[in-house]
């Protein structure tokens, strides 16, 4: 955009922004908790709706926990760029001269630490509720740890595209859920394989591949989306 000299290095800008976003999130702690509470409520609805049979719950546990994680992520995604867009900070980032891709990546990392990491940390409790066998709990945690960053990364593109809309949240779910399909399939397959005592490392490998691909591509797409939305 402009060719003005930029003070400070890229990594400095990245960490400054990351710190700022985490601090802002920490100051708004109650808002921080909404997606987490949402996750707990959604998962607890399944035994109520289906019945408390431990066999059945164990069978559907990977799918239920993962779908709840998808829903909780989409709910929290709107906050990714929303406040910065509304108060004009995002425009300041654009004209700051730092690459928008880097800014998007910093915000995505902050979003994952705030919204994704709690899902990973809470998953033992969810697994307990859903009667998931102990041996597949480790795999569950691993898939969530590898998968939720992908959700934040892909989701950032959708948020970038819908940010200029008043009620972008409803549209956002329509945009990102189809893109989440492969992650849901691979992650739940890994946990189910572990429950059945089958090898599951290949699924984790696929998730790692997905994570690497989305880390390299998604911030660029998110930056392009933000540029369109700000134009």
């Amino acid at each position: 955009m402009n060719a003005e000299p930029v003070s400070g290095s890229l990594s400095k800008a990245f960490f400054a922004l990351l710190r700022r976003d985490l601090l802002l999130a920490f100051r708004r702690r109650t808002e921080l908790l909404f997606p987490v509470i949402f996750l707990l409520v959604v998962v607890s609805l399944f035994p109520l709706g289906i019945g408390p049979g431990p066999q059945l719950l164990a069978r559907i546990a990977p799918g239920v926990i993962w779908i709840a994680a998808l829903l909780a992520t989409v709910i929290s995604l709107d906050a990714l760029f929303r406040s910065d867009f509304e108060d004009g900070t995002l425009e300041q980032f654009v004209i700051s001269g730092h690459p928008l891709t880097l800014i998007a990546l910093a915000k995505i990392v902050a979003h994952w630490l705030v919204a994704g990491l709690p899902i990973v940390l809470l998953s033992p409790l969810l697994a307990l509720w859903m009667n998931l066998p102990a041996e597949s709990l480790v795999v569950m945690i691993m898939t969530l740890a590898l998968g939720t960053p992908i959700l934040s990364l892909i989701g950032s593109i959708g948020v970038g595209l819908t940010i200029s809309l008043k009620r972008g949240g409803q549209l956002l779910s329509l945009l990102v859920f189809p893109l989440y399909v492969p992650i849901l399939i691979i992650a739940t397959a890994a946990v189910m394989a572990a429950s059945d005592g089958l090898p599951y490392t290949q699924f984790l490998g696929l998730l790692i591949a997905g994570l690497i691909t989305s880390v390299t591509l998604a911030p660029f797409a998110a930056a392009a989306a933000l540029k369109i939305s700000l134009s």
Binding site: L161, P178, P182, L217, S229
Partner: protein, 262 residues
């Protein structure tokens, strides 16, 4: 990209580049494509009648599937088109984002509803075929599931395009989404395919491994071409109407409307 920019281009450019430049000009595009549309419609109707006659009247019924096999003359071309149009839309979207050509934006966005319609036709025809053949309207077959996800991708693009008020911004946002979707499409397709083999013991194959008889293949190919001409005619018609809508205050549109009246 308007007509003024064209007059400034150097005369030394070769004919093809000149032609592409001219197509970027709304009045030129409007008049040029207007000549083709009736031909495309005519070709579509001719091919469709021929193909349906061969398939529905002359062709034999399948010994295994009976008369219901004839649904594939609608189902398979629609399925091909649903994927082809998505890829076309993404390629057009890429061109639109890189070179910022308004007409390409319009063409990309005009493709979306047609593609979505073909996807719905595919799903409906597929489930109607599934009822006598598989005994149920819907199975979570890999093809059906990918097609359903494809429909959601289309609906996302259409939804985003219609939600943003400013037409060019809306088109560019939706074009980017179409590109992201196209990058994901093979991943979705293969993951769904593989998910299907993972969960389903007995897989159902469409053609049962047997080669397609020419009495089925010919009408199928003719119908596939008919669908392509339908897409071309429909796309250009939509794009021209959109152009008129967007340029309603411009002189060339007034001229076109005056000509229509007289």
């Amino acid at each position: 990209m308007n007509s003024k920019a064209d007059t400034k281009t150097k005369p030394r450019k070769n004919a093809l580049v000149m032609f592409i430049h001219k197509l970027g000009s709304p009045p030129w595009f409007y008049n040029f494509t207007g000549k083709f549309i009736p031909w495309f419609w005519a070709l579509f109707i001719g091919l469709a009648v021929w193909g349906l006659y061969l398939g529905l009247v002359k062709g034999p019924a399948d010994y295994l599937q009976g008369e219901s096999v004839r649904i594939i003359y609608l189902h398979v071309p629609a399925a091909w088109m649903s994927m082809l149009i998505y890829i076309t839309m993404a390629v057009l979207g890429f061109i639109a984002l890189v070179w910022r050509i308004r007409i390409v934006e319009i063409l990309a966005m005009a493709s979306a509803p047609i593609g979505a319609a073909f996807t719905i036709v595919t799903l409906t025809a597929g489930s109607l075929w599934g009822r006598p053949t598989w005994g149920t309207y819907w199975v979570w077959d890999a093809r059906l599931t990918s097609e359903l996800v494809l429909l959601f991708l289309y609906l996302g693009v259409i939804g985003l395009y219609n939600s943003i008020d400013e037409p060019r911004k809306a088109a560019r946002a939706a074009c980017l989404l179409a590109i992201v979707g196209a990058v994901n499409l093979p991943i979705i397709h293969y993951s769904v395919k593989w998910w299907n083999t993972l969960h389903q013991g007995s897989s159902i194959s469409l053609m049962g491994g047997s080669s397609i008889d020419s009495s089925i293949l010919w009408p199928l190919l003719i119908m596939a071409f008919a669908a392509k001409f339908f897409y071309a005619a429909n796309l250009l018609t939509r794009a021209r109407i959109k152009l008129l809508e967007q340029d309603v205050r411009k002189a060339w549109v007034r001229e076109v409307l005056r000509e229509k009246k007289s």
